[in-house]
């Protein structure tokens, strides 16, 4: 491409101003930029959610503590849960999906770039709405402020009778708005994967990352909508005198639980499938082997997607649904353990016989495997409904789901950050700081969440701002709180690593990991158009084929 013979019109010599940069980012429809916007947005809320968790843990460090009032504590756990799920986990996973899917399937952008931008800004606005409640929600005296109804907002606690002021409305509206954003992104991902794959990339040849995000998007489409419906019903109850959840008028509090958990359970698979996606890309590369059992992995993913829509009432075992209904949800919940376990075995088999390199991405994924195993097994324990009658609504559940979300999803996310940071920024991160982050966070995670199971086994319910001495819970709560500081320190090291490496890191090149999927064939960072020529592929690992022309994958797949 020669430019010497063309006389370009002279542009202004001044480089783009800050306002120009801002304008570019605010109006962008480029999937890579939107991906980064999602990720940065989520990281900010990760810190905020972490502060909320720290407040909770300081209050619980000893019995009858008075670090915060019960009212503030109840807002803390509500905001912590809502923030982490809707404004950290979902945006960050959508961010990675947005950034990577077009690159991995050989496309120039997502199917609907403007819908993409719209979805991001809806999600962003939702987060701002939720936090605006801190200043804007004042209703009757003593009411209002941030929502304090818990992240699943059970009726009738959320009715006008028990939730005065507007705090609950901010919760409802924030999630309603960001829900539209999530559905928009899911539609975009489905259309992109089904319609924009490069020539030769049949569904059976696309990276597992794409498969997992495809199923995840299907779940978002089918599961976030029920939440939207329930939110609308709640608003109708609160403002137009409807009686959906009005037990005084014959309405049912249990039906809110059904509607919420029909969303709530698939939601956790929405969160975990992209984490599986990261693991499925990272583990093969750092074991130097292809993923073991690709077709089975796809099948297990689809199975998980379907089964996850049928397990929701295992969150309601104590609600009094009757023996037959309880029994059904026991079997469906136990059933989903099978494809999930199969995935763990396949990752294990991928490492088996390989040559494992312990770089930061792989360290986090290995920890994920151990931790997700434990998390899955505590889930199996609770799927036995009578056992859940003891464990449910206690700190055992809190420990279990944090084990999945932090020990599973967040660890994979850290791995993903380190793995794709060179691609997104063009710079290499500091491996030393990465390992320091890993060990600090690992210690903190296990201090907090291993020991958190014990108070649950000893009868400590969740969502309590203080507890009685003499129940045997004190020492465990202390240890749990101590772990928080290691995790906080690890997170500081992580952010410092990203920032320092972005400005001072060594140039990474297009393929620092000697990997095999299409994104590693572009420059780092990729140009706006991704690929100068849309590639054509013949196997699941197009770059392996190029690097090993005598021994390409397509001969064996």
């Amino acid at each position: 491409m020669s430019t010497e013979s063309i006389a370009w019109p002279s542009t202004t010599a001044a480089s783009p101003s800050f306002v120009d940069h801002l304008h570019e980012w605010v109006t962008t429809v480029d999937h890579k930029r939107l991906g980064i916007l999602y990720i940065v947005y989520a990281l900010v809320f990760l810190v905020i959610g972490g502060v909320e968790a720290t407040v909770i843990r300081i209050q619980l460090i000893r019995p009858h503590n008075d670090f915060v009032s019960p009212q503030v504590f109840n807002r803390m756990f509500t905001m912590h849960g809502t923030t982490m799920i809707f404004f950290v986990a979902m945006p960050i996973l959508f961010g990675f999906a947005n950034y990577l899917i077009p690159l991995m399937i050989g496309a120039r952008d997502m199917a609907f770039p403007r819908l993409n931008a719209f979805s991001f800004w809806m999600t962003a606005f939702g987060g701002l709405l939720l936090y605006f409640s801190l200043v804007g929600a004042n209703g009757l005296y003593g009411a209002g402020n941030a929502p304090d109804v818990g992240w699943f907002a059970y009726a009738p606690l959320t009715s006008q009778t028990f939730s005065l002021g507007h705090s609950t409305d901010f919760w409802t509206l924030a999630l309603l708005v960001s829900g539209f954003g999530s559905i928009g992104t899911a539609i975009n991902i489905v259309a992109t994967i089904l319609c924009l794959r490069c020539p030769g990339m049949t569904l059976a040849k696309m990276p597992l990352f794409a498969w997992l995000n495809l199923v995840m998007s299907g779940l978002v489409i089918l599961a976030v909508s029920p939440l939207t419906a329930a939110q609308v019903m709640l608003l109708l109850d609160r403002y137009l005198g409807a009686h959906f959840f009005d037990t005084q008028a014959g309405g049912s509090a249990v039906i809110w639980m059904h509607f919420f958990w029909i969303f709530g359970h698939p939601e956790v698979y929405v969160l975990v499938l992209p984490a599986f996606a990261f693991a499925s890309e990272i583990i093969p590369v750092f074991s130097r082997k292809p993923i073991f059992g690709y077709p089975v992995m796809v099948g297990a993913t689809v199975a998980i997607g379907f089964i996850s829509m049928s397990v929701w009432a295992h969150h309601m075992f104590t609600v009094g649904m009757g023996a037959s209904v309880n029994t059904f949800f026991v079997i469906s919940t136990m059933a989903i353990a099978v494809p999930t376990g199969i995935k763990i075995f396949n990752w294990l088999a991928t490492m088996w016989g390989g040559k494992i390199e312990f770089k930061a991405p792989m360290l986090f994924c290995i920890a994920f495997l151990f931790q997700f195993l434990i998390a899955g097994l505590t889930g199996v324990m609770m799927s036995a409904a009578p056992f859940d009658w003891q464990l449910g609504n206690s700190y055992f559940v809190v420990a279990h789901f944090h084990y999945v979300i932090v020990g599973g999803i967040l660890f994979c996310l850290f791995g993903a950050f380190y793995y794709w940071f060179p691609k997104m920024s063009g710079k290499m991160y500091s491996e030393t700081l990465g390992k320091l982050h890993f060990w600090l966070f690992l210690i903190g995670f296990h201090l907090t969440f291993d020991f958190m199971h014990i108070p649950g086994l000893l009868g400590m319910p969740r969502r309590i701002y203080t507890y009685e001495p003499g129940r045997g819970w004190d020492i465990w709560n202390l240890i749990v709180t101590i772990g928080v500081f290691f995790q906080a320190l690890g997170t500081v090291v992580f952010v410092a690593n990203l920032l320092w490496s972005y400005f001072k890191g060594k140039a990474a090149g297009s393929d620092p990991w000697d990997a095999w999927t299409l994104e590693w064939s572009t420059n780092s960072p990729p140009p706006a158009y991704n690929f100068s020529l849309i590639p054509t592929v013949k196997s699941r690992r197009p770059l392996w084929d190029l690097k090993h022309p005598d021994d390409p994958d397509w001969k064996y797949e």
């Binding site: 028990f162 009094g320 026991v330 040559k355 020991f451 400590m460 009685e468």
Partner: protein, 349 residues
């Protein structure tokens, strides 16, 4: 390196051994050394059935954990890249149908076994037959206290539930119907049974048959508002004769002395009677706990404080100092009024 993940298992294991030994030796130890609310220290049939199921589940999941953990650890150590690596890629293995079949079939079989054990316990607890001489209690959850009614025995009380001890040879269980006056609550006494929720417009029921006398502790286990944390539970399991005597006493109307009549007058002319009942007087409010036999209780404010005159006075003066967010308003009484009122309440045995 990975041993941190196994720590809680060792603790659990030793705990289980302790409990099994205790039960096996027939020791009646109402309070486990670890905690009075330890789910692995059952004292009633539902809790015991759950405990036995949990041992099976823990054994199965524990075995799975050990096997997979060992394989993971082995693979990470054995297949790590060595320093003297020749730089060649290892054998590229894409999959194996036999292996996939194996690790599909085995988990399915495990699931079937777990499911059958679970289904049996669900039926035994949720479909238990109610004997004719079972004690019947209706528990009504309020923000943030517990109301108990014994319809067949004509008793209404609050916060401290009394039940007779049950003998396996001639069981006298207590069947509890669970209702709610406002939001969702949950009744959880870990040593007696799994938790069951109290949901408005959705009556539930549960049963307990405690084998040992004593006081059993628990608390509300479903977030119900500001003071969810201090909606504590106390169940007094008594020998039959003591229980009958307690019932008799609870059925009496309030007795009071002349010396307390000034306090009674204050009680009856202030808003107290809008919320509280004192049987035999004009006070018959239902929003707050029945106070007829207040002095027979060990705690006030649903376990928020010990039932002493000082605490009682403080509670009436300013509930928020003991339980901020409680729905009892501060009554704005003067010091002499408070003293008289407290004296009156102290007579409600």
């Amino acid at each position: 390196m990975r041993s941190r993940g196994s720590i809680n298992w060792r603790v659990l294991g030793s705990q289980i051994l302790v409990c099994v030994n205790c039960n096996a030796a027939g020791l009646s130890n109402p309070t486990s050394p670890l905690s009075p609310t330890n789910i692995f220290s059952p004292a009633s049939t539902p809790a015991k059935s759950i405990f036995e199921l949990s041992l099976f589940v823990l054994a199965v999941t524990g075995t799975i954990f050990l096997v997979v953990f060992t394989l993971l650890l082995y693979s990470v150590v054995r297949f790590r890249k060595r320093k003297n690596d020749d730089g060649r890629e290892p054998a590229q293995v894409y999959g194996s149908n036999q292996v996939e079949l194996a690790w599909t079939v085995i988990p399915v079989l495990i699931v079937v076994a777990l499911f059958m054990a679970t289904a049996r316990v669900i039926a035994s607890v949720q479909k238990a037959a109610r004997p004719d001489d079972a004690v019947e209690v209706v528990a009504i959850g309020h923000q943030f206290w517990w109301e108990y009614r014994y319809p067949a025995l004509g008793v209404v009380t609050a916060n401290e539930l009394h039940v007779p001890v049950s003998d396996d040879s001639h069981p006298t269980p207590t069947f509890i119907k669970l209702l709610s006056a406002d939001t969702d609550h949950s009744f959880w006494i870990p040593r007696l049974a799994g938790k069951t929720d109290l949901i408005p417009n959705h009556p539930n029921s549960m049963w307990i048959d405690p084998h040992e006398t004593g006081v059993y502790l628990g608390q509300c286990a479903q977030y119900c508002g500001t003071q969810h944390a201090k909606m504590l539970l106390r169940v007094y399991v008594q020998p039959r004769a003591d229980f009958d005597r307690w019932i008799q006493q609870q059925r009496q109307t309030a007795t009071t002395t002349d010396a307390a009549s000034q306090g009674q007058r204050i009680f009856e002319t202030t808003a107290c009677i809008n919320c509280h009942t004192v049987a035999g007087t004009v006070a018959n409010g239902h929003f707050g706990p029945d106070l007829t036999h207040l002095m027979t209780r060990d705690t006030i404010a649903a376990g928020g404080a010990k039932n002493t005159p000082e605490n009682l006075r403080q509670w009436i003066l300013n509930p928020a100092s003991i339980k901020p967010g409680s729905l009892m308003p501060a009554m704005q009484l003067s010091d002499p009024e408070l003293d008289a009122l407290t004296n009156y309440l102290e007579t409600l045995r």
